[in-house]
């Protein structure tokens, strides 16, 4: 018995493919990115060693960087509020025994989550279009309702970022509801029975029992949504091209642009490193302040 689990050749055969692919495609490039962020590099010839020059330029002289950082705050804030806020309310309502058809509602809310970002962007570009030759469902609805609110939704940086954050949340809320709902269902019923005996309303019971017990789920969601928001790229690439100007730029978009449009690969590597450090920092902060103790039922 022990022999077959000590078969050296078998061990090698089993772990080698994964180790090879992972090392070549994930680990080695990380080292490359770190090293090359310290060089002038055009993607073909490695230029001069420049130390932290790219980082200094990024933090002090690049106005797009400031825009990207601010967008990296606005965008996740909106998605967090929409996804977790509304997601919690919907999950609480659906988990109530009085509500019939909870499964159907959850499935419908999950549908956008199965679509790809490209489809969501393309679909909403058509719905949001503002010129006369376009479909522009949203502006048409405002017209039908007699509200004078028609506008070009992507023409200003702020409204474009809000629209894109909103689409991200529209697509992602199905997941969020699913996770919160599952977590609520795992809370023992006895907790509520005790509260009801003390005369608590179900609203109060949720505020004092359910929400605190969900803190681990919230931690998880915050990490996923915020780091996802910091890394945002697809929406900007597809819907605005980072524009107008650079108003909807994000760190990933900056990285993409400086590598593939300006040929400044060293600088792009520095942006990538900064982005990853930013994600790491956020994760550490969330880990430090949310759900510090594990809850066991």
């Amino acid at each position: 018995m022990k022999n077959i689990f000590k078969n050296k050749i078998a061990i090698f055969v089993f772990i080698f493919p994964t180790l090879l692919i992972y090392t070549v495609v994930v680990f080695y490039p990380i080292v490359q990115t770190l090293v090359k962020s310290l060089y002038n590099w055009d993607g073909i010839n490695l230029g001069k060693f420049v130390g932290l020059k790219h980082y200094i330029k990024l933090f002090t002289r690049d106005s797009t960087f400031r825009v990207s950082i601010i967008n990296g705050i606005i965008y996740p804030t909106i998605t967090v509020l929409y996804q977790i806020g509304l997601g919690t309310v919907i999950a609480l309502v659906l988990s109530s025994k009085k509500i019939k058809g909870s499964r159907i509602f959850r499935s419908i809310y999950f549908i956008p989550s199965t679509l790809s970002t490209v489809i969501v962007c393309k679909l909403w570009l058509a719905m949001l279009a503002s010129d006369q030759s376009n479909v522009g469902l949203i502006n048409r609805i405002f017209g039908l309702l007699g509200i004078n609110y028609s506008q070009n939704w992507l023409s200003s940086g702020l409204s474009a970022i809000i629209v894109m954050a909103f689409l991200t949340a529209w697509q992602g809320i199905g997941n969020t509801i699913l996770l919160i709902y599952t977590a609520i269902k795992s809370i023992p019923q006895a907790y509520y029975e005790a509260a009801m005996l003390d005369g608590a309303t179900s609203f109060k019971a949720h505020i004092h029992i359910t929400i605190p017990l969900l803190s681990e789920t919230y931690k998880l969601l915050l990490i996923l949504i915020i780091s996802g928001g910091l890394r945002a790229f697809d929406h900007m690439y597809i819907m605005t091209g980072g524009g107008p100007g650079n108003a909807t730029s994000t760190l990933t978009y900056m990285m993409y642009k400086s590598a593939y449009m300006n040929g400044n690969f060293g600088y792009a590597c520095a942006i990538a490193v900064t982005l990853v450090l930013e994600c790491l920092l956020c994760t550490l902060i969330i880990n430090r302040f949310v759900a510090r103790e594990r809850i066991n039922f």
Partner: protein, 279 residues
């Protein structure tokens, strides 16, 4: 009095739930309607509702004239290879680190698990250079390899957890009967893992089908683009033909939608697994 109040409250809750359901599902329905309409109907006669005449011609047009068939084929090929290699390699690796006895097994496990927390952005640029230097940019391998590499850590973690919950006894008795480690693996372990393989396969499929940024920067040749890239980059030529465009969007979302209808429980499980482990 209290009873009436409760009925009204419940009614309002249902109305709100239904309103949000419309908000979540109607855009997709709208896309489906448009895919069967012509421009005239989309723009003026019937912008919101069910098409008056079902124009399946849009689908034929999208499929044949706008290269959707090519992008679709590429996406299928990539997904098939990515699912196969990810699942296969992950099973072998998870089996080795959960069952077999060798030095450094813990270190290797942690080294690979770390991959779950690595954003793709940090490897993107060297990856493109690597693909270029290996002259792999003209093949779908340049896409399959990174997809497998980035899904492996996560799938391994799920498989590892699952294998730990399977008792050793069956393998022991097989070993006593003289079975080799490979026989044990393929004849005993693989069949036992079927349910978790289905769940993980769906998860990998969703990732591979929808992935955008790697596909955007790695593939240089237009004929090798997958659906997400094809839909974004090469649709300028029919931006005025809304019916055909909607049809092409429908074609690319149908596979995942149909899978969701069939495997909704497994997909939901896969998604919550994913979140649970990555967090």
């Amino acid at each position: 009095m209290k009873k009436i109040f409760n009925i009204i409250k419940t009614a309002i809750i249902y109305i709100l739930l239904i309103l949000y359901a419309i908000f979540a599902a109607y855009p997709l329905a709208w896309m489906a309607f448009n895919s069967l309409k012509n421009n005239e109907e989309i723009f003026s006669t019937n912008p919101f509702g069910f098409p008056k005449v079902l124009r399946f011609g849009n689908y034929v047009k999208a499929w044949l004239e706008y290269d959707v068939v090519r992008y679709f084929t590429n996406s299928i090929i990539v997904a098939a290879f990515v699912i196969f290699f990810t699942i296969f390699f992950a099973m072998m690796f998870a089996y080795a680190i959960s069952r077999m006895d060798f030095r450094g097994s813990k270190f290797i496990k942690n080294y690979v698990s770390l991959g779950m927390f690595i954003p793709v952005q940090i490897v993107l640029i060297p990856l493109v250079i690597l693909v270029r230097d290996l002259h792999a940019g003209d093949t779908l391998i340049s896409l399959i390899l990174p997809y497998v590499a980035f899904e492996l850590p996560f799938i391994i973690t799920i498989f590892y957890g699952y294998l730990r919950s399977i008792p050793f006894e069956m393998e022991e008795s097989a070993a006593i009967d003289g079975a080799s480690v490979y026989t044990t693996f393929f004849k005993i372990i693989v069949p036992l893992m079927k349910p978790v393989i289905v769940t993980c396969g769906l998860f990998v499929l969703l990732f591979s089908w929808n992935e955008f940024i790697i596909a955007l920067v790695v593939i240089g040749k237009q004929s090798l683009n997958t659906l997400p890239i094809g839909l974004v980059k090469f649709q300028g030529q029919f931006s005025t033909d809304w019916g055909a465009m909607a049809a092409s969007l429908m074609i690319s979302s149908l596979p995942t939608l149909i899978l969701y209808v069939i495997f909704s429980k497994e997909i939901e499980k896969a998604v919550s697994y994913g979140a649970g482990i990555k967090g």
